[in-house]
Amino acid sequence: MSDVPTGHKHPGDSVHVQSPPVNPMKDSMGDKVHPNAWAKRRAILKLSRGREVLAEVGSRNISVRDAAREAGLSPFHFIRRFEAVFGETPHQFRTRERLAAAQRLLARGRSVTDVCLDVGFSSLGSFSALFTRKIGISPAAYRRSLRCSVYVPDWIPHPPSCLLWMGGTDAIAIFKKTLPRP
C-alpha cells in the first residue's frame, strides 16, 4: 500500500510542500515547463476566500461584486473562474447557502418573516417564491412539517450511512425513533 498515493493529507507530504518546487513541473506532453503551478494554487485560494464571504449568510447583504473584491479578482473573472471550479455561479452558490440556512432556522422554529430577514432577503414575497421553487414546499409548510416531528440542532440530521446500509429504507423509520423529542 505504501506506494499508492491516496489521501495526501499530511503537511510534510512531498507533493504538497509549502515552498515552491525546486524542479520545474512538466505538463502532459512531458517536456513543457509549468511556471503557473503556483499561480493555480493562488487562484484556488482567492476563489475560496470569495466563496467563504458569500457563504456568510446574515443580514449583511454581500454582493457578488464584494466577494470578487475580497478575492482580489475582477467581477468578470471571479464569476467565470468560480463557475468553472465550483460548478455554479457565485449568485447560485449564495442563493443555495441562504436557502440551506433558512431551512435550518425554520426547523428550529423561527418565524418565516424573521428567517427571511436573517438570511439576507429583503422581500418576503421573493423569499417565499424562491424557497418554494427550490425546496418544493413553502417556508411556512416546511416549518410546520419539521418542527413537530424532530428536534433540529445546528444541522438537519440524516440517517447515518451504516444504518442505511443495513436497514435500507426502513432505516429512516428506525432513525426517527432515535431522535430526541423537542
Binding site: P5, S14, E88, Q103, W155, I156
Partner: protein, 129 residues
C-alpha cells in the same frame, strides 16, 4: 471485513451526481431519500462494481470546515487511479474540468489534481511502469 463504501462530502448532491456521472463517467448505483437529503452512491464503470463512493451531504458545519480547509491548501481529499492519465486529463478538460495540477511525475506515479465542483480537489494518478 472488507472495504465496501467510501464517502466524500459534497456541497450539493444534485450537482455532485451530475458531475460524478456525466463528467467523470461513474455509474449511479443507489439513489434513495434519506430524511432531507439522499443516499447516493456511484461506482466506476472500470470496476469493481461493488466498491461504492457515497456522495455525502456536507450539511454538518464541521464537514464544510474540513472541505474548505483542504481546498485552501490545495490538498486533494481522495485519489482515483487511471491507466491512461493523459487521455483522461484531456477528456476531462474538454468537458470544462479545472485542473490545479497538470500531470506531474512524482516518483513511481504521475499525478494530476482537479476540482470536482462540489468543494473538493481530487487527485488522479497513474502508476509509471
Amino acid at each position: 471485513m472488507r472495504i465496501k463504501l467510501v464517502s466524500i462530502f459534497v456541497d450539493d448532491q444534485d450537482k455532485a451526481l451530475k458531475f460524478y456521472t456525466e463528467v467523470l463517467g461513474f455509474r449511479k448505483k443507489q439513489d434513495m431519500p434519506a430524511g432531507p437529503a439522499r443516499w447516493i452512491t456511484v461506482v466506476s464503470a472500470e470496476g469493481p462494481d461493488d466498491l461504492e463512493l457515497v456522495l455525502e451531504p456536507n450539511g454538518h458545519p464541521a464537514a464544510k470546515a474540513y472541505q474548505s480547509a483542504l481546498l485552501k491548501d490545495c490538498i486533494p481529499c481522495t485519489a482515483f487511479e487511471s491507466t491512461a492519465l493523459h487521455d483522461e486529463v484531456q477528456r476531462l478538460k474538454q468537458k470544462g474540468v479545472v485542473f490545479t495540477m497538470e500531470p506531474t511525475v512524482a516518483g513511481e506515479v504521475t499525478i494530476a489534481i482537479f476540482s470536482d465542483t462540489c468543494g473538493n480537489l481530487i487527485q488522479l494518478y497513474q502508476r509509471n511502469s
